[in-house]
């Protein structure tokens, strides 16, 4: 007969160890990425970010990694973990079911050093789609106290407002890999987020911006952006809904 372990017993499970392979690369003097292996002990709740910080603390303090919130909120710690773009602070070693954990910088971003990548293009494309409410009377006047929205109106875009600008979707996107001018799934999902907001009046402006030879039409329905998004944003769906406006299926 099986027994349910008590809390005390569960917490006493001996820690196990894995090999953490970290990509090291400095574009200033390295010609290619090199991997360094470290043996790390972990508990069931240890995240990949914690393991990397452990390596930094005890073995190699030179490893470059960007992080801040450690709770999937700031969008800083995106990297390729065992081949898939993920947030290091939101990925537990135990969930990867592997004795070797390989961490590499995100694809489709220029590398600053090791695991840290440049976010300029992500921020530029995000900025390009005007990620804010465009409204004639932004200032609340006299008796208006708020811009009311029904739950149905909120439902239209709320999922898309969860984006933390981590760039994982852009890292997974095959078009981003070859088209250096492509606006990318992150910015397109945000274009939809504002276009679908009942308080916004900037639909025509935004649709014009993304209706470009490197805009929305360069999405070929791979869907990998939505598979890797840690916040459930579903950029691929946002892109198809935006296409609906442009093809006249939505208004």
């Amino acid at each position: 007969m099986g027994q349910i372990p008590s809390m005390a017993e569960e917490n006493m499970t001996p820690s196990q160890s894995i090999t953490l392979r970290i990509a090291k690369y400095n574009p200033e003097h390295d010609s290619a990425k090199k991997f360094m292996d470290f043996t790390i002990t972990y508990e069931r709740w240890t995240t990949v970010l914690e393991a990397i910080l452990e390596v930094k603390k005890h073995f190699d303090h030179s490893i470059a990694v960007r992080y801040s919130c450690r709770q999937a909120t700031c969008g800083s710690c995106g990297m390729i973990i065992n081949g898939k773009p993920r947030l290091a602070c939101f990925t537990k070693i135990s969930e990867l079911n592997s004795n070797v954990i390989t961490v590499e910088p995100m694809n489709n971003f220029p590398i600053i050093r090791d695991l840290a990548v440049k976010f300029e293009r992500l921020f530029d494309t995000h900025h390009k789609v005007k990620p804010y409410l465009i409204h004639d009377d932004t200032e609340i006047t006299s008796d208006t106290k708020e811009f009311l929205q029904s739950p149905e109106e909120l439902e239209q875009y709320i999922q898309f407002s969860n984006c933390i600008k981590c760039g994982l979707c852009n890292s997974a996107c095959p078009t981003m890999a070859t088209d250096s001018s492509f606006v990318g799934p992150q910015a397109l999902a945000q274009a939809y987020r504002y276009v679908a907001d009942s308080r916004d009046k900037g639909k025509d402006q935004r649709l014009k911006i993304i209706d470009d030879s490197h805009g929305i039409w360069r999405c070929h329905f791979a869907g990998s952006c939505s598979q890797v998004c840690p916040k459930g944003v579903d950029p691929a769906m946002g892109i198809q809904l935006l296409r609906g406006y442009m093809l006249g299926f939505r208004s």
């Binding site: 078009t175 070859t178 470009d212 360069r218 093809l247």
Partner: protein, 114 residues
Amino acid sequence: MRESIIMKIHYGTALAAVSLVAVHILMRLTQGFSESLQYGSVIANYKFLPYAGMLEIILILLSIHGFNGLRVILLELKQGKTYEKTVSYCCIAAMIALIAYGSRTIIMVNTGMI
């Protein structure tokens, strides 16, 4: 031209081609596939104007669709103002050339040059 208009044409030509190519294949079923390619029957098909007209339309639709598709692939492969302009103009030129060459065959048959 706005990219959305180009892509509407791209999707439209694909949809139209699906139905016309279906008619084209059905017409081929009226005889054996090997007979289809015999000299006499090819000439006879071209001389049957409604059918030749449909083949001409398929030629135009798929040339537009195919060369625009090629343009898209090339634009995603490499970027740059001159490169992109060259790609666009070359694709339009190739599209026109292919349509002209295909139409020439149909016209030659129907004007008795063959």
